[in-house]
Structure formats: structure tokens, C-alpha cells
Amino acid sequence: MMPFHTRLFGAVVALTLAATAPALSQQLELKIMAPAAPGGGWDQTARAMQQALVAAKIARSIQVTNVAGAGGSVGIAQFVNGAKGDGNQMMVNGFVMVGALAMNKSPVTLEQVTPIARLTEEIQVIVVPANSPLKTAQDLAAAVKADIAKVTFAGGSAGGVDHVMAALFAGTIGADAKKINYIPFSGGGESLAAILGGKVTAGISGMSEYEGQIKSGKLRALGVTSEKRIPGVDIPTFKEQGIDLVLANWRSVVAPPGITPEQRKTLSDAVEKMVKSDAWKDILKQKGWDDAYLSGDAFADFLKKETIRVTDVLKSVGLVKS
């Protein structure tokens, strides 16, 4: 029943305040949509923003709504159509949405939303079970080159960041990305079991998902996808092993289409202030998220490039028909 009450209450509050409150930033009344069910990464990001924006007194109140479905396709459709021109709404999105939109042939695309800022990112890692004969990323590359079908990769949903990464890995080392034997599992838990049980050759996921197992020695990390080594983590990057694979699972926030430049500036300023607040920094530390703040045109550019890159990869593995 909770969503009902919060929704109603929020609507009433928004109505009364829209009529009276001037658009001063300290009196911002925002609605942030998490285009996913409560609990996932996007929902956590939206709720973290809510917490930080209110704690840092940047906004008076924030209401988080959840519209789950199809990697965000349902949420973005509702956001683009329903919130058009509304300067008091934002939506969280990320890497996974890019692929999901392409695969679901969504009529709504990320080109339609107004980019605000990239917020966080998570570095990806490839792991093998501790007793695997593969010791380095080059060993894995050699195995892939020897017989690509025999190297099985376990990871998250089809077309998600893990899948894209497997395809990029194969492409980078000169193998045929179309032939990769990628086995999608629902959620990190299930794929982790398959890796630990030796059912697959290697596993791909975000760093945090496997951290405990890597530290305890049950899994061996072959490489991480960051530019440089992550401070305090003793895992080589792919780059230093001669494989040009740089990738991060980013999350960002966007505004509806059709808002005025002033409205865009108000939202961008609010997010910038939030990113610099102690409240936000505390949340990042506590959740283990890496700050990846990028705003304005630089972010819009990044979004465009990433969309092209992901769509190309998905075409190359046959998930998106060209």
C-alpha cells in the first residue's frame, strides 16, 4: 500500500507547492524516477540522491518513484511522454539502459532526454575459479583464440554490461565476437555459483559483486577494466596486460525532453552541488561506488559515444539486427 500513499501524498504536496513556491533552488521539489524495481542499482542511486539532496539542503523534498520493466524501457517511455517540459523531474539511468533500448526496439531513445550528469561508475572484472589453469588475461585470450566456443563466460542478462564486455574482450584480442559463448544468468548470485562450481570458464561482473570471493581466494581476478589500477586493489588492468579493454558500468541522471535552458541549469546546478556535498561523498564511500561526475556537454557527448559503441557491439554479437 505504501507506494499509493506516498504517491498521493507527493502529488498533493507537489500541487500545493507548485501553486505557491517560487523556483528557488533551496525550495526545489523534485521527482526522481528509478526505471526499475526497488532495491536494484538504479533505485539505490535515486534514493541516494534523495538522501543527499535533502541532507545538503539543496532541495526541500524529493520523491522517488519506481517504474520497473525491461531494463528501463518502460520507465523511459513513461518519462519522455509523461514528463515532457517538466523541470522538476529527473530519471536515473545507466549503461544497461542503452543496450536494453536497442534490443527492445524501443520507440523512445536516449537522444530524446535532456542529459544532466553522469554520477557514478563501477569497474568490471573477469574472474576464474581458484583452481583454473588460467592465470592472466593473456592466458584467457590465448584460450579464446584457440577455440572460442569452448570458453564459456558467465555473467548478467543478455545485452547487459557483462555481455558487452565479453564481446569487447573477444573483439580486442582479434577473435570473432559473434562466436563468443556467453551464458547469461539472472543476477550475480546465480552466475557466481556457476563459476565457483567450475561449470564455466570465466565470470564477468562488477567489482563489488565478486570482491568477497576474490579476497578470500575462492576466485582469481584476471583483470579489471579501469584505465589505471584501482588504488588498494592488487589486480592488474587489462590495459597493462596488453589488452585495450576499458569499460565501466556507469549510472547517470537525465531530465525530460523540452525543458528550458534555465530549467536545465537549475537541475544541473542542484546535481553539481549535491556531488560536492559531504552527504553524497559519505554515501559513495558507504556503498562502494566510484565518483564519475561528468556534466554538461561533456556528458552529452559521452552518452552519444557510449550509445554508438554499445549498439555496435550488440550488432556484432547479433542481439540487435542492423
Binding site: 524495481a37 525491461a70 534490443m103 559463448n181 547469461p184 543476477g187 546465480e190 542481439l319
Partner: protein, 499 residues
């Protein structure tokens, strides 16, 4: 001995007044959301996460565990009383439980489910404390082919158990399997049978189907029969409490249900539904009162109820030892751990023994609390059945619809609910069993993706299904279960002619 000392230490943590309070809040909330269809423990934990952020980790995790156990209890109450399973794990309970309630035996049905849950929860928690490290090794070795074989066992037992004839059971099962195809294919990311409707991309929600078929279908059916012979609901007939006979018929199903629930719950892709249905099928086969099945047999409530609570404890095995969340609620609890910078996994036992053992100990306490909370309520719940039928069913309709909207506010979802209600009505009218539809929807997609995963790993060699000893054994069991009724029937005829 080390485990005992650790557990004793955990008890000391758990009985601190604040932690007891958290456990109480947890089981109370859990029972409440379990009663509401559509709002499960996973959603509750998700909504509470930001609220509990400021609490100490031990306390809030204890509360989450209480919610989890409580949800399993609460779901069965509505299943028994108004044939509306609060969540899919209580579906098997509705089958016999609601029949019992209509025959005036709602009291014993609720009691056997509460006590059975307690017994199973306690045994399974002991299992969690002592067997976790061993069990998790077994669970991790369970590969895609083994899951597929397990699903085969479930399919065979379910379609053979429900309905008057296997052909009707199979028909229902295939309706469910077809519904299971709707949405994005897990392995290729392509949409199937979605007809361009975005809401269908994630497939059919199990609770929507279950609530539509069970609750709405039932309400429509009752309304349609109103001018025929009115079905008499007797609130209470005989004892409100379990009789000696009830106890005698319940204790074995409790134990067998636990044996199904705990290990399957511990499997990373096991879930709570399969053990409840396996338990139901087993009880139906083993019972000394086969004539009562379908009319309200207490074994059919005792077994599945024990199984679903045992599986809840089983889920915590991979969560605590490996950091593997194997159910939606477990995934939320994992998020809860991470909120405090704790990484469940092999290191958690070593780094934070107070937390882990405190959690395990508080599960025992949550179990006792649930029993104390639920048994006195039995009398109150049963009064619900005394409400005049039109009112009761109108209430059920409102209740079911609200639950569905609360979980997923969309027109499409509501239309589906109504559509499934009509389907449920027609199936009742023409004597098709309902449960296999839901089983098909839950297990079909899992069986499909596990089979395809197994084949992808083996590069398309179907023999992989027989190479693993576990999978070969399970497939053998499925084959025997499929053929046994025919063989036994043949033998029975042979015997009969001998007499």
C-alpha cells in the same frame, strides 16, 4: 562444539532487548505484508532499507530476517482463509487449506501451518547453523543440467498429482508454460509474445496470475453459482484446535516438507515453490486418506507449509556463506549487508561472528515469536469466514485488486488480472486444475534457460544431461514417477483379478 559456543554467543546478542524489539517488529511487519497479495517481503525490505540506514547493522538485519520468516507465515493465512495466496510459495497451501476452511476446519488448518512452519523453521535453522559449509559445497556443484532435471521431476509430479486426469493436468500445465514464454528471452534478450506492449516485456507476474486464477476466479465462480445450490461455508465445525488425529497426520508431513524445503532452498536457483509442490505431491501419494485430497486433507497443508519455511532458512545458507542471494528477499538482505559495508561471504563468518551468529540465533527467536503471534490469532481469523458470502467475496475482490495495483500500478497489469480471473472461472467451470498453470509459469522459464545453458556449456551435446550423476538420478526419478502410476494400476488390476 565450536558451533555450540558460537550459537550461545549469538543467543546472547539476540536476546538484547533492542534486538528482541527489532525481531518483533520484523515478524509483525512480515506477517502483515505476507497477508497482502502483491506486497511480498522483498518489497518491504526494499522500502525499509533507507529507513534502517541509521540503525545498527545487527538490529536491522535481525529485523529483515524476521520480515522474511513472517512473510512466509502470513502468506499462508490468506491462502487458507480466502484462497488468495499472499505469495507464490503459499500456493500449494491454498489447495487443501481453503477446502479445509470451507469445511469448518480452518482452525486446524491454520494451526498445522503455524506449528509446521515453526517445526520446519527451527529444524532448518539448526541445519543452517551446523550444515551450512557442507551444504553450500553441494549447492554450488549443482549445475544447469541438474536444475533442468530437478524441474523435470517437478513437472511430472505436479501434472500427475493435480486434477482428475493427467490430460487435464497437462493441459493446465501447458497453458502456464505458454504464459511463461511471454517477455524477454533471458538468453538472447529478444522479446517473445509481447505484441509490442512494453509492460509485457518482463513477462507475466506470478502473483498477478495466482491472484487472478485463485481469488478472482473463485469469486466469479461463487457468484455464478449463487442461484444454484448455495455452497455452505461453515466457520467452525468440531474443534478449533488440532485433534489428536490431526497431530498424528501432521508430524510426518512437517518433517518431510522440511527435507524438501531446506536443501532446495539452499540451491542458488532452487526457490520456495518447487519444494512446496514436491511436498504436496508426496503427501498425496503417501497419505492413508487419499479420498480426502481435493476436499481438505490436513497433510496437504502441513507438508507445503513446512517446506516453504524450511526453504526460507535454506536461502540463507548461500547468502551467508557465499554472498549469493538466491531469492528476491535474499537479494534485498544482501543490499542491507552492503549498506553497512559488510560483504557476506566466507569472510563474514570470520570477520563478524557476532553478527552472523546473532542473526542465526534471532531466527530461532523469530520463529518462537511467530508461533506466539499466530496461534492466538487463529480464532480471530476463522471469524472472517462467518462474514456473509457476498461481502466476503466483494472484500476479496477489492483486496486482490489493490494488492496487484500496489505492486505494479498499470492498466495492463489490471487487465491481465481481470483476464486471469475469467480464465480461472472457466477452468473451474470445466473442471481443469488451476495450480499447474501457475507452476508452468514459474518453472517453465527456469527449466528452459537451464536446459539452454547446459547445452551452451556442452556445445550442444545433449548427453550432458546424463553425464552428471545428480542429473541422471533426478531424470530417472522423473521417469519412474511418470510410469509408476500406470505400472501400479496394472499391478492393482492383476491383484484384483487374483482375489
Amino acid at each position: 562444539m565450536e558451533t555450540f559456543a558460537a550459537l550461545a554467543h549469538g543467543m546472547a546478542v539476540a536476546v538484547q532487548p533492542m534486538n528482541l524489539l527489532y525481531a518483533l517488529i520484523g515478524v509483525f511487519l512480515g506477517t502483515a505484508v505476507g497477508v497482502l497479495p502483491g506486497i511480498g517481503p522483498a518489497l518491504t525490505v526494499a522500502l525499509l532499507l533507507p529507513v534502517t540506514y541509521k540503525l545498527d547493522p545487527g538490529g536491522s538485519l535481525i529485523m529483515f530476517a524476521g520480515i522474511y520468516y513472517g512473510g512466509m507465515y502470513g502468506g499462508s493465512t490468506t491462502a487458507i482463509l480466502i484462497n488468495t495466496p499472499g505469495e507464490s510459495a503459499s500456493m500449494a497451501t491454498a489447495l487443501e487449506g481453503n477446502k479445509m476452511a470451507k469445511a469448518g476446519r480452518g482452525g486446524p488448518a491454520l494451526a498445522t501451518s503455524a506449528i509446521g512452519s515453526f517445526v520446519a523453521g527451527t529444524i532448518a535453522t539448526i541445519g543452517l547453523a551446523f550444515l551450512a559449509p557442507w551444504l553450500v559445497d553441494f549447492a554450488v556443484r549443482f549445475g544447469p543440467e541438474d536444475y533442468f532435471a530437478l524441474m523435470c521431476v517437478a513437472f511430472v509430479t505436479v501434472s500427475a498429482t493435480f486434477g482428475d486426469s493427467p490430460i487435464r493436468g497437462l493441459t493446465s500445465l501447458f497453458v502456464g508454460l505458454t504464459l511463461g514464454l511471454i517477455g524477454i528471452d533471458k538468453l538472447t534478450g529478444q522479446a517473445r509474445l509481447a505484441f509490442g506492449i512494453p509492460e509485457l516485456l518482463d513477462g507475466v507476474e506470478v502473483t498477478t496470475l495466482a491472484v487472478g486464477l485463485f481469488a478472482l476466479g473463485e469469486a466469479l465462480y461463487v457468484a455464478s453459482r449463487r442461484h444454484h445450490a448455495e455452497e455452505k461455508i461453515e466457520p467452525v465445525r468440531g474443534s478449533l484446535w488440532m485433534t489428536k488425529e490431526d497431530w498424528k497426520r501432521s508430524w510426518k508431513p512437517w518433517l518431510r516438507g522440511t527435507m524438501f524445503g531446506f536443501p532446495i532452498g539452499a540451491l542458488p536457483a532452487g526457490g520456495a515453490e518447487i519444494p512446496t509442490f514436491l511436498s504436496y505431491s508426496t503427501e498425496k501419494r503417501l497419505t492413508k486418506h487419499p479420498e480426502e485430497f481435493g476436499k481438505g486433507a490436513i497433510e496437504g497443508v502441513a507438508g507445503p507449509e513446512a517446506a516453504n519455511n524450511a526453504s526460507a532458512a535454506g536461502t540463507l545458507v548461500p547468502l551467508l556463506t557465499l554472498g549469493l542471494p538466491t531469492s528476491a528477499t535474499a537479494a534485498m538482505m544482501l543490499a542491507g549487508f552492503q549498506q553497512y559495508g559488510l560483504n557476506p561471504g566466507p569472510l563474514l563468518f570470520a570477520e563478524r561472528p557476532d553478527l552472523v551468529w546473532g542473526l542465526i540465533a534471532s531466527l530461532f527467536i523469530a520463529n518462537v515469536m511467530l508461533l506466539v503471534l499466530n496461534l492466538p490469532l487463529v480464532g480471530l481469523w476463522v471469524k472472517l469466514l462467518a462474514i456473509p458470502q457476498p461481502w466476503l467475496y466483494a472484500g476479496i475482490l477489492v483486496f486482490a485488486t489493490m494488492g496487484t495495483i500496489a505492486a505494479k500500478p498499470s492498466v495492463v497489469e489490471l487487465s491481465m488480472l481481470a483476464g486471469f480471473g475469467v480464465l480461472g472461472f472457466l477452468m473451474r467451470r470445466f473442471d481443469f486444475p488451476i495450480a499447474p498453470v501457475v507452476v508452468g509459469l514459474i518453472l517453465g522459464p527456469i527449466a528452459e534457460s537451464q536446459l539452454r545453458r547446459a547445452l551452451a556449456i556442452s556445445l550442444g551435446d545433449p548427453l550432458v544431461l546424463l553425464q552428471s550423476s545428480m542429473s541422471a538420478t533426478l531424470l530417472g526419478i522423473a521417469l519412474i514417477a511418470l510410469l509408476a502410476p500406470f505400472v501400479l494400476k496394472g499391478l492393482g488390476r492383476f491383484k484384483a483379478s487374483e482375489d
